[in-house]
C-alpha cells in the first residue's frame, strides 16, 4: 500500500513556472512594488517623503539649514533617536510598547557617568555597566509582562515614572553630572579621519554589492525566487550614491571659519549607529531568533504551536530594547556633555516611537526592520534641528512632536486597514 514518494508523478519544472516567474523583468518588479504601496505596505516611503518635505520647508525658512555644518549636526543629533528607535522596533514587532525606554536610557547614562566620575572606571567598563543597567530594567519589564500578564503599556508606564527617581536621587535636584570622558564625549565632538572614513564607506559599498550579487547568483543557480538583475544593480547603485554622497559631504571642511579651524570627517557616532544597524539587520533577517520574533508578532498562538518559546521571546525583546535604550542614553549624554535628572524624560521616547513608526514599523506587531529606526530617526531629528535654527518657542516643539506621532500612527493604522482588505 505504501507508495514511495520518489515514484509519485512529480511535475516537470515547467509546470511550476508561475513560481520562478516572479523574477521577471524590472517592469514586473516596479508594478509589484506599486501594488504593495496601493495595498498599504508602504515601508519607508512615508519617512522619505517626510524627510523631503521637512528639508524643503526648513531650507526655505533658514539659510543655514542646508550647510554641511548643520548636516553634520543633524547626524549627531539623530544618533540617539535612531538607536532608541531601533531598540523599540523589537518590542513593537511583538505588538508591545515600551514607554520607559527614554528614562531607562537616562538612568543608564547616570550610572555610567557616576562610574566614570566617582569610581574612575575606564570608559568601556562604565559603558558596559550602563548597558547592564538597561538589560536588567528590560529583564524586569519582560518578566512582568510575559509571566504576570500585565499589559506592557501599564508596566512600562510604571517604569517610566519610577525610573525617573534614579537620576534624581543619584544626581540631586537641579544638579548635573559632567560627561567628558575623552572617548564617550568624543563620539559626538570628534570625527573619523577623512581617509579612514572613505575606506570604511568603500568597504561597506563593496561588501553590500558582493553580498547582493553572490545571493543573486546562488538564487539563480538553485532556481529560487529572486529579483531581476537590473533591480539588484539599481539597489547597489542607490546604496553607493547615498553612502558615498554622505561621506563626501561630511569629508569637507565644515568649520564656520574654515581659515582658522578644520572640522572634517564623519562624526564617530555614525559608525556606532551603522554597526548596530548592520548587526540587528543580520539578527532579524538571517537568524532563527529574528524569524521567531516575527512569528510571535504575527501570530503568537501559531508560534507557540510551532514550539517557539513565546515567553522567552518577549523577555528577550524587552531586554534588547532597554539595552539599546541605554546605548541611546549614552549617545545623548555624549552629545550634551552632561547627564541631568531630566535626561530621557522628555520627548525622547515619543520621538523614537514616531521614528520607528514613520520608518515603516507597525504598532500592531509583526512588521518592521532595523533600518526603519534609522530612516525614521533622521526624519524626526530634523524637526528639533530645524525648529532650533528658527528660534521657535518650545511650545511649538511639543505641538509638532505630538502632531508627528499622531500622523505616523494614522499612516500605520490606515495602511494596516488597506493591507487587511487587500491581503498583501
Amino acid at each position: 500500500m505504501t507508495v514511495d514518494s520518489d515514484s509519485m508523478p512529480t511535475l516537470a519544472d515547467g509546470e511550476f513556472q508561475a513560481d520562478t516567474q516572479q523574477s521577471g523583468s524590472l517592469g514586473d518588479a516596479v508594478s509589484a512594488y506599486l501594488n504593495r504601496l496601493r495595498g498599504g505596505d508602504m515601508g519607508s516611503l512615508p519617512a522619505i517623503l517626510g524627510l523631503v518635505v521637512l528639508f524643503v520647508v526648513f531650507s526655505s525658512l533658514h539659510d543655514n539649514f542646508l550647510t554641511t555644518y548643520n548636516m553634520a549636526n543633524l547626524v549627531i543629533q539623530s544618533a540617539s533617536i535612531c538607536v532608541l528607535a531601533m531598540g523599540l522596533i523589537f518590542v513593537l514587532l511583538l505588538g508591545e510598547i515600551d514607554l520607559s525606554a527614554g528614562v531607562a536610557g537616562g538612568a543608564s547614562a547616570t550610572i555610567t557617568a557616576l562610574m566614570l566620575l566617582d569610581y574612575d572606571w575606564t570608559w568601556w567598563m562604565a559603558t558596559l555597566a550602563g548597558i547592564a543597567v538597561g538589560a536588567v530594567i528590560g529583564l524586569a519589564i519582560g518578566l512582568l509582562v510575559s509571566l504576570l500578564g500585565i499589559p506592557s503599556f501599564v508596566v512600562t508606564l510604571a517604569f517610566f515614572l519610577a525610573l525617573q527617581a534614579v537620576p534624581l536621587k543619584l544626581i540631586g535636584s537641579g544638579g548635573s553630572l559632567r560627561f567628558n570622558n575623552e572617548v564617550l564625549r568624543g563620539l559626538s565632538i570628534k570625527n573619523v579621519p577623512v581617509t579612514a572614513g572613505w575606506i570604511a564607506a568603500v568597504v561597506i559599498v563593496l561588501g553590500f554589492a558582493a553580498l547582493s550579487l553572490l545571493r543573486y547568483r546562488s538564487q539563480v543557480a538553485k532556481g529560487l525566487v529572486h529579483q531581476p538583475l537590473s533591480l539588484v544593480i539599481i539597489k547597489i547603485v542607490a546604496m553607493a550614491v547615498v553612502i558615498l554622497g554622505i561621506t563626501a559631504l561630511l569629508s569637507q571642511n565644515r568649520a564656520p571659519n574654515p581659515e582658522i579651524f578644520t572640522i572634517e570627517g564623519i562624526p564617530w557616532v555614525a559608525p556606532v549607529v551603522i554597526v548596530l544597524l548592520l548587526w540587528w539587520t543580520f539578527v532579524l533577517t538571517r537568524t532563527r531568533f529574528g524569524r521567531h520574533l516575527y512569528a510571535v508578532g504575527g501570530n503568537a498562538e501559531a508560534a507557540r504551536r510551532a514550539g517557539i518559546n513565546v515567553t522567552g521571546m518577549k523577555v528577550a525583546a524587552f531586554v534588547i530594547c532597554s539595552s539599546m535604550a541605554a546605548i541611546s542614553g549614552l549617545l545623548a549624554a555624549s552629545y550634551t556633555g552632561k547627564v541631568s535628572p531630566g535626561s530621557g524624560g522628555g520627548n525622547e521616547l515619543l520621538y523614537a516611537v514616531g521614528a520607528a513608526v514613520i520608518g515603516g514599523t507597525s504598532l500592531f506587531g509583526g512588521r518592521g526592520r532595523a533600518i526603519n529606526g534609522v530612516i525614521g530617526g533622521l526624519v524626526i531629528a530634523t524637526i528639533p534641528n530645524g525648529l532650533g535654527l528658527l528660534n521657535q518657542a518650545s511650545y511649538i516643539n511639543f505641538l509638532v512632536t505630538g502632531g508627528v506621532l499622531l500622523l505616523a500612527a494614522s499612516v500605520d493604522a490606515i495602511s494596516r486597514r488597506r493591507r487587511t482588505s487587500s491581503g498583501v
Binding site: M1, T2, V3, D4, S5, M8, P9, T10, L11, E15, F16, A18, D19, Q22, S218, Q219, K222, G223, L224, V225, R286, T287, R288, R291, H292, Y294, A295, G297, G298, N299, E301, A302, A303, R305, A306, G307, I308, G366, R367, R419, G423, V424
Partner: protein, 257 residues
C-alpha cells in the same frame, strides 16, 4: 489487512465527573483515509487531543507501528511523526510560505538560516503534492485564499515526513473549488502511504475521500466500518442515534455521558 500505523485500545478519558471517552478503540491504517465522524459533543475533539498528546489518557493503550509507546505530551507524539492540522490554522500571516512551513524547525548553517535549502525543500514538497495553486513560495501567507492556506498547513505536515496526519475540519470554511483542492490533497496524502484522519461534519466529503469511517456516539465507538459497507443514511443514523439496523451500539438507551 495491513497493520495499523497508530492504534488506541480501550481508551477512557474523564474530566472530573464527566466521562467523555468510553473504551474507545481507534486505528489509523497506512495509505488510508479514516474519517472520524460524530455529532457535537460526541468526543471527536477530545479523541484528537488524546492522540495529539495534549490530553493524557486515564487508561488504555497507545500503539504505534504495533508496539505500545509511552506518550506524555505533544512533543512525544510529534516525535513519532504524527502531525495535527487544526481548524484554526496555525500560520503566521506576516511570514511567507517557506517561512511558515519551516517555522520552529528552521534549517541553519551555523547561526545563519539556510534559506536556499528551505526554499528548495518547500518547493519540492508542494510540487510532489501537485500543488499548483500558489503563485510563489515567497508570497506572504496573508495573501493566500482559505484553500491555499489549508494547503500550506497540510504541506507543512508532509514536509516533516510525517506518517500520520490528523485534519480537523479542513474544508469547514471553504468554497466549492477550494474544497475540491483540499480533498484531492487529502487523497494524495493517503496515496503516498500516510495514515490520514479526517474529522468532518460533511458527509459528501467523507464519502468522497474516506476509506474507513469511525463513528463516535456519546464517547463510544458506534461503528468502525469500510466506506463501501455503509450508506449515507446509515452513517447519519450512527451519528445521531448511535445505531443503524445491525450496525452500531445495540444498547444505546443505557449509553450515558
Amino acid at each position: 489487512m495491513t497493520e495499523p500505523l497508530l492504534e488506541l485500545r480501550g481508551v477512557n478519558k474523564s474530566f472530573g465527573v464527566v466521562h467523555v471517552l468510553h473504551d474507545v478503540d481507534f486505528a489509523v491504517y497506512p495509505g488510508q483515509v479514516t474519517a472520524l465522524v460524530g455529532d457535537n459533543g460526541a468526543g471527536k475533539s477530545t479523541l484528537v487531543k488524546v492522540i495529539a498528546g495534549i490530553y493524557g489518557r486515564d487508561n488504555g493503550d497507545f500503539l504505534f507501528d504495533g508496539a505500545p509507546v509511552n506518550v506524555h505530551g505533544p512533543r512525544d507524539v510529534a516525535g513519532l511523526g504524527v502531525e495535527v492540522v487544526y481548524q484554526d490554522l496555525a500560520l503566521c500571516d506576516n511570514l511567507d510560505i517557506v517561512q511558515n512551513m519551516f517555522l520552529g524547525r528552521e534549517l541553519r548553517h551555523g547561526p545563519v538560516l539556510d534559506e536556499i535549502t528551505m526554499e528548495t525543500q518547500a518547493r519540492e514538497t508542494l510540487t510532489s503534492l501537485s500543488v499548483r495553486t500558489v503563485k510563489s513560495v515567497r508570497q506572504p501567507v496573508a495573501s493566500l485564499s482559505g484553500g491555499q492556506r489549508q494547503t500550506v498547513a497540510i504541506a507543512k505536515a508532509v514536509l516533516w515526513n510525517s506518517r500520520v496526519v490528523l485534519l480537523d475540519e479542513p474544508t469547514a470554511a471553504l468554497g466549492v473549488a477550494q474544497t475540491r483542492q483540499v480533498l484531492d490533497l487529502v487523497r494524495r496524502l493517503a496515496d503516498r502511504g500516510l495514515g490520514v484522519v479526517l474529522i468532518s461534519h460533511n458527509m459528501n466529503d467523507v464519502f468522497e475521500v474516506a476509506d474507513r469511517i469511525t463513528a463516535l456516539y456519546l464517547g463510544r465507538v458506534a461503528a468502525d466500518v469500510h466506506v463501501e459497507e455503509v450508506s449515507h443514511n446509515q452513517v447519519v443514523e450512527l451519528i445521531t442515534a448511535g445505531r443503524s439496523g445491525d450496525l452500531g451500539l445495540q444498547n444505546t438507551a443505557s449509553a450515558t455521558i
